[in-house]
Amino acid sequence: MAHNHKLEIFRGLVKFKSNTQKIWGVLIFLSIVTTVEVALGIIKPRFLTHSYFLGMKLLNWIFIILTLVKAYYIAWDFMHLRDEKTPLRRVIVWTPIFLVCYLIFILLFEADYIYNVYKDGFITWNF
């Protein structure tokens, strides 16, 4: 059990006096991020839905990045990864990240290939 908590987030930009205070601070941050996500999802600004980066809408990139940010703070502060030993943290974090990236890569490429097969009319599926 890690009794001595590291009490700063944003690389030392925000420092807290106690662990309880840090928890509330992280909650406020996560709520702000969620609010931004929901607001963007409802408004859907045109300049974000009509510009693309690597074949995906800018808005979707923002959603995914904000999700990863949220995941980071849940894992680091709520699941106490910040207080664990560095090797344990690395094993827990990098193993799934590596496997998931690989899975995303192969499956999405394959899906895009099938999409093109359908689209180029080798198979009739919308009749």
Binding site: E37, G41, N60, I74, A75, F78, L99, I114, Y115
Partner: protein
Amino acid sequence: MDATVSTGTEDSVWGGGNKPLGASYGKMMMWFFIMSDALTFSGFLVAYGFSRFKFIELWPIADEVFTHVPFFHGNYPMYYVAFMTFVLIMSSVTMVLAVDAGHKMKQKSVILYMFLTIIGGAIFVGSQAWEWATFIKGDYGALETNSGRILQFVDAETGERAALADFAKTIPDERERHVESEGIWFYGEGSMPSYSLNEVVEGFKATPNILIRTEQLNEEGEKTLLDRKESLSKILEANQVVEGANLIHNEYGHRLFADFFFFITGFHGFHVFSGVVINVIIFFNVILGTYERRGHYEMVEKVGLYWHFVDLVWVFVFTFFYLV
């Protein structure tokens, strides 16, 4: 525990006295489980991405599917899921406060925070059940074509979606629902839609201001609206009426969307449910003073890890089902 055999070597490195990476056995095993479970969820979500990329140009728009808030009428996309997300994050916070109170050996605070966590989990599971019920019941109703594509209806004047009830004719005495008691070989059939295909098609022909909307997304990322002439020829392809969503038919669009929705949110909901059950067990242990006697509240920390993991998964489900 009395049943544990003491060998007198527990404190030596090879006797189990060593804590690798500073984490106790129980915590380490919880992390093992969480990692494998994370990979399971990733598999599901990536499979969802696979199907979505395969049918990228006709995938349903989540904002048009989940538009309801309990006790309110009207079109409120996103608000309810945002509320659910907030409830889950909040219960994560009370859980982490319980762990913190456990470190300080404050039994009363642990009880309070565990209780709040359980309430939060229950609200979330209840909300999800409501979300499922609304999704299964359906909104407007639609037609399904021979190839399984969905045709929805739009009022040409207002641009709003039109429900089947708005224009379908009532043609009396068409078909009776089969019941098991009426046949020797017959196994019964599921519920029939409120209107038959013929009633919908006749009603559509008689109502000139109703247009058909196909699943196809246009350049604006919106569903394609056919004009009246195209609509009249398109409706001939329909072969059945669909109301609501299940694993085979889905009035909101591609059936895979419904399949993945049920599967992924169902699997997540089951995790939340089991998390609540485990939390309740630990809650009673705290009340009974089990951990007070044991001298530490590590058990609360372990269920806390699981509970936060459930929250973590929801953050991703929320993004990929409702936002992206």
